[in-house]
Symmetry: C2
Subunit: 533 residues, 2 copies
């Protein structure tokens, strides 16, 4: 039996496009001699569709699309993921539809619903009966949407096919591979996992659909971060790739992260019908990296940088930003912020009085950051650009950023990327030639909102901060567990204290592309009001 | 058997305060002759604690608090809600702990976990075994945390006690009462529901713990939006109030909404250790109402209004705002925004060029709104005020508001309140004397960002808009269903189209006090990227 894996990038609720892609893949698989073609979980609707799953109009459109797809399965079978509404009970399941001879022959429904990260299934789906067997050209195939299989139902099948929506994070793929290999080995049966590819808002699906062999383990996979199509043959329990295998070692962890962020930006723009990105350039490493990623995702001709020096900006900051723009070949403008800043100081003088006005504090720093935000948003409004936010996860965790100032933007590119990863990514961008100015990478990080300011005046240095944040956030360890691992108790306690006060800011920062196990505002869900550390 | 209901306002994770309140109530109940005292669901920890429930430090603190509470139950029994970690499996349940003779005698665990609105239980709790019976002084009592009871277990008990966390919305109480009455009648047994009181960030718990009688239906309840304590006697299956009964008809729907919002503001400030509120006053009805609610919640001495007239503000707007401040007796300042506005126009001139600068569009309106936001945030930073957002749900649904402009603030007071409800609430504020100037209520709503502007230039009038929004959002009806109810097809389609484009703004607006069945960003969860209407 020959089968094809079709790994596609869907758009949520765009039934015309999704259905066309699926039917074209069915036709192409048939033309190439496949007996069966496989699609990912919730392929027909795109996922996660969230509250759209509560709309009867949406569910009717799913039904129509499914019928059209089924009708196209005349001389070939397919298994495709879709929300499935039971016509008698009206209940909605997360289904894998087996289409054969022009109709939906069987519906397998997901049993273990998933509520991790930004995936929310229990509010929308009813738990179904789980894995089930079908037969294609004499091969017995087990279809599942669940992680855990019950042994009895997996007995005596020739192949296990799992439809997935596994979002990318820099730890998830290894866990996924280990799980698949373990299941395959335990059941002594080969296993195929078909994964969605493409970014859906904050979530980035990496594709990398895999085939494992119960004896060898890893066998073959499809591309990362791209649509792909591949043919395999199953004889008895034996698997064979009908096309060249993929080299597994192509990507380093940093390269994967880079590709994920590029896809995240590109799909956010493409799927929303947007084109041009606007970035506030400080000459620092965060905004430089965001500009580099945006150029890769959208083309330098669709990127514009705005340099907004203040009285505290160093000369080299402007030069670094100009060098960056010239290296990548994107347009930039310089808008000094002194005029706006002075106007606010004058407007506020009568309110603050002589005493308050004399004492320069965080207020004046925030005014600078907010004047920049007004400038960026005005250019965005007038010229049709979308502002990309440039703050990172280390700053977000510490509340180091100005709400409605540097924290503005339609989407946060680095909001789930630690500062140490920002450095690694910048060096990766420069792997062949120096595109991000070396000085922007090597200078001490600074917000440049007062004379001589350094991030390390207010925060632990990033080499100390990031590993502790990683243990707190990604590993969910307590202060005492982290101290036991050898970190300084005072530093850990200071970080926990600072982090406990950022909830209200995180509530209003732009949605961030998710690349870690626990992104703020998705994996992490803290009460707005609570007694915290 | 005498029992007491203790309806308390807890603070999430503040174990010292919560434990003290619970133990004092136990002692007071004992002193008044009660055999049993009842507390609400998750009383010990406060709820919803969200990701704090994943912290072992937090769960250890719960254990310690529970032991201390149990030890105080020497001559009296109590039933108290708390997260319960099973010591062998490590799994965490939503538990009702029956404490007697100084220790935890029995743990009843919630079976049907709830993921409605802002309550998220499945990510944190394991589903338990559900209702169970205990015996107190010869009375057989069924304890439950679930809505649905299985008949067999409810057989032959004298009383059903349900611990709850039912947040307020203007439809939920009636549904709750109907459910309780139906269960009580069906099982021919009296029923007690103990509810949490107090606001926890966006969620406002209304208390109103109730006692129903299987024969009469409604029997008695505790106060709305306040802590309360009340004694009852159970003899056989017969219930008796040992204190004066509450008049059920005290509150109109508008009065309840008013009290809910006041409590929402007060607890947000109290529980976060905040004191002073800052409000941008336009002279319009939304900001006037927010000021009125803030004065009631925090005292006029803790409220400050900032009037920020632009070149398009009408003279009467300033006068209305001044009258408002004088009527309530709160402080205000006038900061005209022309200086800031002109500075931005000048800064942006070189970027926009002659052509773009000549064409005045939404950009210039947004600059005005954002200049106001910078002023408000600067005063907030310098003088320690917390900015209250003043936009309403009708505007939010239509995307009628400027991100980082009038959409700033720590918390949105009216973000879940439709404009027509804003009018009703304002008339309620004026029920005894005219506090909100009549002119602010009666004039045509306007953002005053360009000459002669009215909301109705961009939006359907609120009398048409709000009923359609209610059907779309709260009732989750489709366009065709709404048209069938007699609404104009073009208007409905226009509203659906406008609403489908607001997702990205809703992602970054302040958290809103939730008072409807489906608040944005809580009840409503739309994909950031999707093909929408």
């Amino acid at each position: 039996m020959n089968f094809a894996i079709s790994q596609l990038n869907f758009k949520i609720a765009d039934f015309a496009v999704n259905t066309r892609k699926i039917i074209e893949a069915i036709q192409s698989a048939h033309a190439q001699g496949a007996d069966l073609v496989l699609f990912s979980e919730l392929a027909v609707s795109g996922a996660p569709a969230l509250d759209l799953l509560k709309s009867s109009v949406f569910l009717n459109q799913v039904d129509e699309a499914v019928q059209e797809i089924a009708r196209s399965c005349k001389n070939i079978d397919c298994i495709v993921g879709a929300p499935y509404r039971d016509s008698s009970s009206g209940q909605v399941y997360n289904g894998a539809l087996f289409c054969s001879q022009g109709k939906v022959e069987r519906v397998i429904s997901k049993r273990e619903l998933n509520d991790q990260g930004l995936i929310h299934e229990t509010p929308y789906f009813v738990s179904g009966s789980g894995a089930d067997q079908i037969e294609v050209k004499g091969s017995r195939v087990l279809i599942t949407l669940d992680d855990v299989l019950e042994n009895e139902i997996a007995d005596s099948v020739d192949l296990i096919i799992s439809l997935r929506n596994s979002p990318f994070s820099y730890t998830e793929y290894d866990q996924r591979m280990e799980r698949i290999k373990a299941v395959s080995q335990q059941l002594a049966t080969g296993m195929v996992e078909v994964n969605q590819v493409g970014a859906q808002g904050q979530l980035i699906f990496d594709g990398r659909s895999v085939v494992v062999n119960s004896t060898e383990g890893y066998f073959d996979k499809l591309k990362a971060f791209q649509e792909d199509f591949k043919l395999f043959r199953l004889e008895g329990k034996s698997l064979q790739s009908l096309q060249p295998k993929i080299d597994t070692e192509k990507y380093t962890e940093t390269a994967l992260l880079y590709e994920a962020l590029v896809l995240g930006i590109r799909d956010y723009f493409d799927k929303n019908g947007l084109k041009k990105a606007l970035i506030g350039l400080s000459g620092g490493i965060d905004s430089s990296l965001v500009a580099a990623l945006a150029c890769e995702a959208l083309g330098a001709e669709n990127v514009k940088g705005i340099l907004m020096p203040s009285m505290y900006s160093t000369g080299h900051s402007v030069k670094d930003a100009e060098d960056l723009a010239n290296n990548f070949g994107f347009e930039y403008e310089i808008v000094p912020i002194k005029g706006g800043y002075d106007a606010f100081i004058e407007m506020l003088n009568p309110v603050f009085g002589t005493e308050d006005s004399a004492e320069v504090d965080l207020t004046e720093q925030n005014i600078q950051a907010r004047v920049r935000a007004v400038v960026l948003m005005a250019i965005s409004n007038k010229q049709g650009y979308v502002v990309l936010n440039t703050s990172n996860k280390s700053e977000a965790a510490m509340g180091y950023g100005t709400l409605y100032g540097d924290l503005v933007g339609a989407i946060s590119v680095l909001g789930d990327v630690y500062k140490t990863q920002v450095f690694e990514l910048s060096r990766y961008v420069n792997r062949n030639q120096q595109l991000i100015p070396e000085h922007a990478i090597n200078k001490a990080p600074s917000a440049e909102l007062k004379p001589g300011q350094k991030d390390s005046d207010s925060l632990p240095v990033y080499e100390i901060l990031d590993p502790i944040l990683y243990l707190l956030i990604e590993k969910n360890l307590s202060t005492s567990q982290i101290v036991e691992l050898g970190h300084d108790k005072n530093e850990v306690e200071r970080i926990v204290r600072m982090m406990s006060r950022v909830g209200f800011k995180l509530f209003q920062t732009p949605p961030a592309l998710r690349v870690s196990p626990r992104a703020f505002g998705s994996g992490l869900n803290l009460p707005l009001v609570a007694k915290l550390a």
